[in-house]
Amino acid sequence: GPEERAFQERIDAEIKIEAKNWMPDSYRKTLIRQISQHAHSEIVGMLPEGNWVTRAPTLKRKLQLMAKIQDEAGHGLYLYSAMETLGADRDEEIDKLHTGRAKYSSIFNYPTLNWADMGAVGWLVDGAAIVNQVPLQRTSYGPYARAMIRVCKEESFHQRQGYEILLHMMRHGTEAQQEMVQDAINRLWWPALMMFGPSDEHSPNSAQSMAWKIKRHTNDELRQRFIDQTIPQLEVLGCTVPDPDLKWNEETGHYDFGEIQWDEFNRVIQGHGPCNTERLNARRNAHENGAWVRAAAVAHAEKKQKAVA
């Protein structure tokens, strides 16, 4: 129809779609799914950090980690707001998370097993997130694009902080601390690469998302970009990644790397990762235990309104 044509023309002309504009139903649904997954990831992502925030080793590191967790709660809030401009309901989408009908980033189903994980999560996980998200600052839906600008800025800060945690441990740490860093990288490297999603030939929705300019690069392109920018940083750390096939390819100007264990990826995505149960239980418990608090807030607001009326 003419609406659909006008919509696509607007996109092709790089003019943002706003909440009030007409949009195809499937565009709306795709965005709601993507933005809510992103918001859920921010919220679930607080849990592995919550495992260490009570044990942060210095006041400075504690402050940094608390600030990061606070930012993630903030990201969750902007993203749910962006999602709500599309007519979605936050409670409904959160209910999908709690009942296993909505996804979140697979990486947060891995455990954080030593303090260096707090550095490695910042460096690798936020790093991978940024590579994914930088193009989203130009995504076609205006409220999402604007939320991403703010999110990316804060995540770049987290990434540098994470890297600095690791660098400090490698340069000024004891042998035990250096081992922690290498151990964290060993455990998080492949899961970080999986964050970009299936390889292009197994990513059927990508073409439509590209046409709508929701996505602007394929999963494999982004993964390669992440690897290319991360390996030099790895070398500065003096660490390695657990991939014997990783090497610089003069011809392509990129790093070659080994095969990702897609079995593991699929298993985690399907709910059978090492911490899926713990993460979802934690979220569900928080929600259930908070029900009386939310009810009280509503009841009090109503009383106040009545008193004014």
């Binding site: 402050l63 400090h168 009386w292």
Partner: protein, 253 residues
């Protein structure tokens, strides 16, 4: 038990209280009743760790034996901690957590207000900076007391139970020691003698607005935060908080 000079003891009390209150807030990560609260609890905690660092930096300078804020935070055992008893109490449900926060915020607010007038420049400066943050903390926690006290029947009952659980630790907010009075007399710290009355007035006002009954004033008994005689729960809190520094005594993080 290590005892320092009067000013150092006082500075440790302010710093330790902020730190332990923040540590309890950290325990809420991922458990808050709404995302907005997740953010707000961490935000308050962040302010308090910042305040704790300022106080402990100063305490370390006063002690002057090469110690630093991290060593004070991570290598003192419970008998050497000086925090008010309220902040170490377990989080319980959100009613207990907000009540503890509120009772502490009222004390902080009035203490810091007066401490701005300290002759000791550092105390005055830390108090001035902290008070801005605490003004917001207090507004927020007061609002929650009202929402929960005058919300639903369930939330009201939970507040009543929360008051019953922790009220006995409030005597810390009402008492000054001889040493603290000496600091006031010499004007090293501002005149915080009125804080007890101000604390009672404010708590009264918020409780009344929240349809909650104010218990009679708690009386000092046995537990003595200034002498490091804490509740049993502080030991477990420190075991967790200090683990990495204890396990890796010579590490730099």
């Amino acid at each position: 038990m290590q005892k320092y000079d009067d000013l150092t003891e006082f500075v440790l009390r302010m710093g330790d209280s902020a730190l332990i209150q923040a540590q309890r807030l950290c325990e809420w990560t991922g458990k808050a009743p709404a995302l907005e609260e997740e953010l707000a609890l961490m935000n308050v905690g962040l302010d308090l760790v910042g305040q704790a660092r300022n106080w402990l930096d100063y305490a370390a300078e006063l002690i002057g034996d090469g110690t630093d804020a991290d060593a004070l935070a991570y290598r003192r055992d419970e008998r050497n901690y000086r925090n008010v008893l309220m902040v170490e109490q377990p989080n319980g449900d959100f009613a207990v957590t907000m009540l503890k926060q509120f009772l502490y915020d009222v004390w902080q607010f009035h203490m810091l207000s007066k401490l701005r007038e300290s002759k000791d420049d550092r105390v005055a400066a830390i108090a001035t900076k902290s008070l801005k943050e605490v003004t917001y903390h207090l507004r927020r926690s007061s609002d929650w007391i009202k929402r929960l006290g005058d919300g639903t029947e369930e939330s009201h009952q939970r507040m009543v139970k929360a008051i019953d659980d922790v009220w006995r630790f409030t005597y810390d907010f009402l008492q000054l020691t001889e040493q603290e009075n000496a600091l006031i007399d010499s004007q090293v710290i501002g005149d915080v003698r009125d804080v007890a009355a101000q604390w009672q007035t404010k708590v009264n006002a918020v409780f009344v607005a929240s349809t909650l009954t104010v218990p009679k004033p708690a009386e000092p008994f046995y537990l003595n935060s200034r002498e490091g005689v804490h509740s049993e729960c502080l030991g477990a809190l420190l075991a967790e908080m200090q683990y990495l520094q204890r396990a890796h005594p010579n590490a730099s993080w």
